[in-house]
């Protein structure tokens, strides 16, 4: 298996495909059931955000190695409208779509590392990592 696999997010079914890919890679790396659920949930949130707010984009799952540690990295990228106030979208309960507003702050808590990079009009890149302990 390649170190990185990607799923294009175009319709709702691609959200299912992305989280199944993530779960398989997480299992393969040896993550336990709780971390598998965290990773699957995080991918589902990011993929759905792409589908809802950017229309389309891509989610890549990568096995990463740093010294002795192994981890799983989720890269969610789109060329959608971008986010103008990054602090606001990280607040629990903030949603522009009538959702729970739990997605982005939730992903940050579920994963070990979380980086969001967005420019209005250009798109959004999110990188989230979980390390194997």
């Amino acid at each position: 298996m390649e170190n990185q696999s990607c799923v294009k997010i175009i319709n709702e079914w691609d959200i299912v495909a992305a989280r199944q890919l993530g779960r398989n890679v997480a299992k393969d790396l040896g993550f336990g059931t709780v971390d598998q659920a965290r990773i699957t949930t995080a991918i589902s949130e990011l993929a759905r955000n792409i589908y809802l707010y950017a229309g389309q984009g891509q989610v890549c799952i990568e096995k990463i190695y740093d010294g002795g540690k192994a981890g799983l990295q989720i890269l969610a990228a789109d060329s959608g409208p971008g986010i103008s106030d990054l602090r606001q979208v990280m607040e629990d309960g903030y949603s522009t779509s009538g959702g729970l507003g739990a997605g982005l702050p939730g992903v940050k808590r579920l994963m070990d590392e979380f980086v969001i990079d967005s420019e209005p009009g250009k798109g959004t890149d999110i990188k989230a990592t979980k390390w194997l302990r």
Binding site: V16, A37, T40, E45, L100, R109
Partner: protein, 121 residues
């Protein structure tokens, strides 16, 4: 590609739902509608939704579940959620979703007992 609908069984005055496969968004919304229709048609006053086979719940599915519980209540039916796995409980809390006022039980059998108590029967 399309998942089959989630079956809803009737047992006396209650409805039983056991979700057996991963929910995609459309199936979840279809289930919401199907359950409310079934409550209407059968005049059921209790529902048990068993999640034993579900290994993750994201914010969308949590919202659909929370909404269907509120909608059922509006129609006069109480809902008990059963069989939430440890990994699901942990991720839901980390997402910031407590499903606070929701009735829960460890398994289907306990769920039915709880429902009978709640309904005073």
């Amino acid at each position: 590609m399309r998942s089959p609908r989630i079956p809803i069984l009737k047992l006396h005055n209650c409805l039983l739902v056991s979700i057996q496969w991963e929910l995609d968004d459309k199936t979840a919304l279809q289930f919401q509608e199907d359950l409310l229709n079934k409550i209407h048609v059968t005049s059921a006053n209790g529902v048990v939704i068993d999640l034993t086979s579900i290994d993750f719940i994201d914010s969308f599915i949590a919202k659909v579940l929370g909404d269907v519980i509120d909608m059922s209540k509006l129609m006069g039916a109480k809902v008990v959620i059963t069989g939430i796995q440890p990994a699901v409980a942990i991720t839901l809390i980390e997402l910031g979703i407590g499903l606070n006022d929701v009735l829960t039980a460890i398994d289907l059998e306990k769920g039915l007992e709880k429902l009978q108590q709640e309904l005073g029967e």
